[in-house]
Assembly symmetry: C2
Amino acid sequence: MNKFMEEAVKEAYKAIREGEGGPFGAVIVKDGEIIARAHNEVIKTNDPTMHAEVNAIRKATKKLVRFDLSDCEIYSTCEPCPMCFAAIHWAKMKSLYFGASRFDAAAIDFDDQYIYDVINKTATVEQVAIKVVDAKECLEPFKEWQKKQDKVQY
Amino acid sequence: MNKFMEEAVKEAYKAIREGEGGPFGAVIVKDGEIIARAHNEVIKTNDPTMHAEVNAIRKATKKLVRFDLSDCEIYSTCEPCPMCFAAIHWAKMKSLYFGASRFDAAAIDFDDQYIYDVINKTATVEQVAIKVVDAKECLEPFKEWQKKQDKVQY
């Protein structure tokens, strides 16, 4: 078994056994060493964004004091949900390794697959009602951002 | 202009003027009152997950001491990226109102549209290399989760 994935699996067991969250773990590797290890902590923290991957990204960026993890790889025990998948992209990570699939997660009652279906417009049920309002007014801050001289693009 | 969106726009200006992040704001409303207001803080915190919506969800769930925001609505100045869109679903929110679109965000150089394209498999460039490893071993924690008697499903 891949030695990094083995550590991610240990994290998944921690989540279950310590009652902190769903059965998911992740580690982030830089230059062949683990710089962050994390598991799902949704139950413990009451924060629905505290998935293993997001948790690991937060720890790694805090450690490196930068939001850019382009020199890092992430090992996750399960295919990331769209939230974590996008977070991995925002962090500009170079590689993602995962084990179980979104379908495996669906089989134990997690919504990953459903949310992918909503995004891909193949879901038959709409959990969140979505409406566009004040589109024109919401563009005003974008104009100020464009003019800002000292902005940091991420 | 919608009074809640007006507050979200104020948050977007804060992000720009205080140099804390991209030009995005969000508020969460429960029973007709704002219970959380937030803006993008990626630059300030070095946390790439600190988008306005995720930030607002974290604040609201902390305030209510529960991960379920099914009695809440979110107003965001921009169409949520896949990370925030999924976070809104994980929080089980009932409604999402947004102003600017993912295309407007792309026009000021944010990757929202690109990440949607990757998820929808229409992107021509692959930023993150993805590989499946140890799928079988990663399913083991799922089996323990299924047997767990006192688990909290979210």
